[in-house]
Symmetry: C2
Subunit: 260 residues, 2 copies
Amino acid sequence: MGMPMRSADVERVRALPLFKGAQPRTFDGLIAGAFLQKFPAGTTLLMEGDPVDFLYVLIEGLAELQGTWNDKETTLAVLRPVSTFILAAVVLDADALMTARTIERSDILMISGEAVRRAMKEDAGFAVAVAEELSGCYRGLVRTVKNQKLRGASERLANYLLAEQVSQGGGPTLTLPHEKRVLASLLGMTPENLSRAFANLADYGVSVNGPDVSIHRPVVLDRLAKPDRLIDSHLQPSAARVGMAARECGASDRTVGALN
Amino acid sequence: MGMPMRSADVERVRALPLFKGAQPRTFDGLIAGAFLQKFPAGTTLLMEGDPVDFLYVLIEGLAELQGTWNDKETTLAVLRPVSTFILAAVVLDADALMTARTIERSDILMISGEAVRRAMKEDAGFAVAVAEELSGCYRGLVRTVKNQKLRGASERLANYLLAEQVSQGGGPTLTLPHEKRVLASLLGMTPENLSRAFANLADYGVSVNGPDVSIHRPVVLDRLAKPDRLIDSHLQPSAARVGMAARECGASDRTVGALN
DNA sequence: CGGCGAATTGACGGACGTCAACTGCTGTGG
DNA sequence: CCACAGCAGTTGACGTCCGTCAATTCGCCG
């Protein structure tokens, strides 16, 4: 089942921080039992509470992780290629805490969870890479909690926009990668309130046209947003620590792979 | 510097999920370079943004992890013995995202971060244990975010009380382990609002007397709180998954060690 | 052409933060 | 031993932020 992977895709997976530290035979073993599958938009890959049998790798498309309680829903993260997800549940062989859904048509690689756990025990390099990946994801979540608890709604939006701006090349105008309702849920508000938050930001030089957002006065917006390197992962200092102990093998803090 | 560890304390550390999977010589190596230190209440162990040189293990006492932004503060977690913290920053050799403070007089074991990273590379069992620990912490944070985004203030308080109740033996009355202002910050509200939230819960059979809280009608409170195994880690099902693949070596999902 | 869902806008109410005053406890110093 | 300062906690008044409900517009697709 599934389809054979194009070798270009194999390269992209191999280049992920998660797999860079793995020995060739470990990697081959993981890939051998894996399969690549295409899903249409809006497909539920995994339901909250279900046992997790696979580690997922989003190769192409857009996906979302969401949590539910008492008939309310919230988006925990929006995933872009190439990123892995549900790693933590795989490591512990535990039930999923979040539902995974495709937002767009997506290509997703599914790797046996059992195989991942086995590979960790046999290949210390891979186990270290898993720990590093999890650490990055963990720190991403710490940032999320701080963002949520310490900032107001328009401040969260302002910071999101500034982050998207740099991730889209730094130009004055950016395009929202998905529906506004998803963004609202990600930022912890209702769609109605997101509209109003955008309206507030008009005074700070932000104009909206459908999915296109322009930032006309970055300085002013920045003064409202007060971005902070301990919350907003997109601004990582060029400053290295004094000892300058050589950063061995990467696995940057703001690893693409989000919440696992 | 520091003091020699009592052998009973060494035993307690060795028994942690984090170290149970480590080989004896790995563990001894980590402990050898470590030191135990006593800190008075209110001591800042580590400031947000500082480089992290040690993995911390809280042996005795009570500590707190907090985040700051724009002159606001929030408590991310309250730690009880025995738990490790700041693991993720140690693994990545990155700056701390949270400030660590003692709440009470505490005994804290400090293990060289450099040594931890070295040990992971040399001992796959230990690296796996680190990954498992991080996975548990990660999932704890996912629960935190869901709790924060999906529930209202009194619902969060109600669930906190129910969780404390079981952790304190299930009796009808429990004692808050720290000041209410810390609890308020942990639950994401102001002290004033926590008072009002307690007042709300009076209608649901909760009475407060200083630090002592009594739950007179658990069923009623439970109907308000709607605790959920995918948010509240204290209720883990006896139900095992069908395949019943033997749960190899523990590292439970609700590992004592909180946010690392 | 008609229907559906996303997005926006307005009106309203409730939840939560802020400010201030007051209570009670504790530790300190006269 | 008592007086007092300081802080935690509570309570009330008030304002703001945010969620809810409803109506409307727009674009997309049947």
